[in-house]
């Protein structure tokens, strides 16, 4: 249970969320996946959520996106309660999930078409293609793109709706180390450029330290928020600075400790 300041300025507010799923081997008993999650994210903030695999990070994002419903608890986007998926909460998965039958340009347009505002906002498509550096690939189909390019298209596709919160579910998890670091800078650039509130789920501690304003550490089964760490390192951050490394070893220790307490 974590105390948090209840300010109406927060873009995303989550209170006492519980979620359980039927156990795979025995559908009658329910397994608690999220146990009383509470936190809030301020407008313009970039918050990372890290934790061991299976701690319910992705489940939490799906709840915020409105793709699943909670057992109990409240979710607010601004002052609106969340009940179903909506364009004000963008979601980018680890798999870019581009529509393979649409070109890059049409993929980026998809949100505008879905909301029936393409005619008014057509000029924004070029802007977002430029923003992610893909203006030359508008006519290409997704299977021609590299992993990093595909993920940039997925980012542009989510951002074109001007979401109040962008939910990122390990978006860089499938990329190789070099592309990954480049894409971290890319996401940071988009964040600084647009000041979109971002909630980034990752299992990469370096990524969390490199990118976030705050890092929330989750424990496993049932998932709880164990600790929230403010990451106040000056930007742009240096992955090899002593402060960075100190924070890293602190978190590693915490995670190790968190792991022990969960099994105890």
């Amino acid at each position: 249970m974590v105390a948090f300041a209840e300010t109406d300025a927060s873009a995303l507010r989550i209170r006492e969320i519980r979620k359980s799923f039927p156990a795979p081997d025995d559908p009658v008993t329910k397994r608690l996946v999220l146990d009383g999650i509470s936190f809030s994210v301020a407008a313009g903030e970039l918050v990372c959520l890290i934790g061991p695999s299976g701690c319910g990070k992705s489940t939490l994002l799906r709840l915020i996106a409105g793709l699943d419903s909670t057992d109990s608890g409240e979710l607010f986007i601004g002052s609106q309660p969340i009940s179903e998926p909506g364009a004000e909460r963008g979601l980018v998965f680890q798999d870019p999930n581009l529509f393979p039958w649409l070109t890059v340009r049409r993929n980026i347009e998809a949100g505008l078409v879905a909301r029936r505002v393409l005619r008014e906002k057509r000029n924004e498509v070029n802007e977002f293609m430029r923003l992610v550096g893909l203006e030359a690939f508008g006519g290409a189909y997704p299977h021609h793109l590299s992993g990093g390019m595909a993920q940039r298209v997925a980012l542009a596709r989510a951002l074109i709706n001007h979401p109040k919160v962008l939910l990122l579910d390990e978006p860089l998890g499938a990329l190789d180390a070099f592309t990954r670091m480049r894409m971290q800078d890319e996401v940071l650039r988009l964040w600084e450029n647009r000041r979109t509130t971002m909630l980034l789920v990752t299992h990469d501690i370096d990524e969390a330290i490199y990118m976030s304003d705050r890092i929330m550490i989750m424990t496993q089964r049932p998932g709880r928020i164990d600790r929230i760490i403010t990451d106040a390192l000056p930007r742009p951050r240096d992955r090899s600075s002593s402060d960075f490394l100190r924070l890293r070893s602190d978190i590693l220790e915490l995670l190790h400790f968190a792991g022990d307490s969960a099994t105890a």
Binding site: G86, R89, L91, A114
Partner: protein, 341 residues
């Protein structure tokens, strides 16, 4: 082929053009390839003339004319290809196939007309079939057009109904609950088994035959469309919903495009079934079309006409099939390089 060429062929790419490759494949067509077709035609001609006493003069005449034409055209092409690269690569690819086909005519001629190893009138020689093709061309053309009209109307109806029912069954749980058992019970019955019923119900033979073809097309199209729609990757639907998509977008812009590769499998299966149903329906009900022509010619024991109609059918059906492949290549351009059939 050297090893590099074999490897690159395995990898599906063009072989590297080193110096030897250029002289062998690149700039000129080898003499063997150039002369294979005219020599094969000459061989056929020689064989036929050897046995021509047994054939009516008119058959020999048109058969020889065809062979002269093949020889003439291939010699002209041999000259043109020196100046026109696309023709050259096409000829390099196609000449062996054409040669084999022409030689088969010769073998056919030897077996039938030459040594009369097969009983007449069931197995006429190629010259007789060619003569029937020419002499009956008016009726054959008319029959082809009738078959085409019947095929197109039946296929179109089956396609439309199949798409609609497939989309409904694939998308909606309740419709799947009620529709799927019906589909599973009624669908596998061959459309031709309904012929007795169709003859009783419908006002005209054309309508009943078109209905049977539609039924034959409907089943595979519905089945494959439904499975394509219901197997749409959940993550595509999730993404679309977080982009603000409503139900219309989810169905028409996510589920249906995602199902199109599957739908095309249904369209091809339906096309095969529609050919079968077309020929059967025409030979028992409708008094026109290629199916009718075949059974009519058989009734008069004019087997050379039967074979002539079979040749037309082969050309007709494979053209329709090729057209569908072209449509698929256009529609599924986003899959280019990933589909292998």
């Amino acid at each position: 082929m050297n090893r590099a060429a074999i490897q690159s062929t395995l990898a599906g790419t063009e072989p590297e053009r080193d110096a030897t490759e250029l002289t062998r494949h690149g700039s000129t067509l080898s003499w063997r390839v150039q002369w294979a077709v005219p020599l094969a035609a000459l061989f056929d001609l020689a064989i036929h003339l050897l046995f021509s006493k047994r054939a009516p003069a008119v058959e020999t005449h048109s058969y020889s004319l065809l062979m002269y034409e093949i020889i003439g055209v291939s010699i002209v092409l041999n000259i043109v290809q020196r100046f026109w690269m696309p023709l050259r690569s096409w000829m390099r690819h196609m000449c062996p196939i054409f040669t084999a086909a022409i030689l088969l005519f010769g073998v056919w001629d030897v077996v039938t007309l030459g040594f009369q190893m097969l009983p007449l009138p069931y197995f006429p020689g190629p010259a007789a079939v060619l003569r029937s093709l020419i002499s009956d061309r008016g009726l054959l053309l008319d029959s082809t057009l009738h078959s085409l009209a019947l095929l197109v109307s039946g296929y179109a109806v089956g396609l439309l109904v199949g798409l609609v029912s497939g989309i409904c069954i694939g998308w909606s749980g309740p419709i799947r609950y009620w529709g799927m058992p019906l589909l599973k019970v009624v669908g596998p019955i061959p459309a031709t088994a309904w012929i007795p019923l169709a003859m009783v119900i419908s006002p005209s033979a054309f309508v009943s035959s078109a209905g049977l073809i539609a039924l034959a097309v409907w089943f595979p199209v519905t089945m494959l469309t439904a499975s394509g729609i219901s197997n749409t990757r959940a993550s595509y639907l999730d993404v679309a919903r977080t982009l603000g998509a409503g139900r219309t977008y989810l169905i028409f812009r996510v589920a249906i495009p995602a199902a199109v590769p599957n739908i095309f499998i249904g369209l091809f299966m339906g096309l095969g079934a529609s050919f079968l149903t077309l020929v059967v329906a025409e030979s028992v009900g409708v008094k026109s079309g290629l199916g009718w022509y075949v059974s009519w010619a058989q009734g008069w024991a004019e087997y050379s006409k039967v074979y002539a109609a079979l040749i037309i059918m082969a050309a007709f059906f494979s053209t329709v099939m090729t057209l569908l492949f072209k449509v698929r290549d256009r529609v599924l351009v986003w899959q280019k390089g990933t589909i292998k059939w």
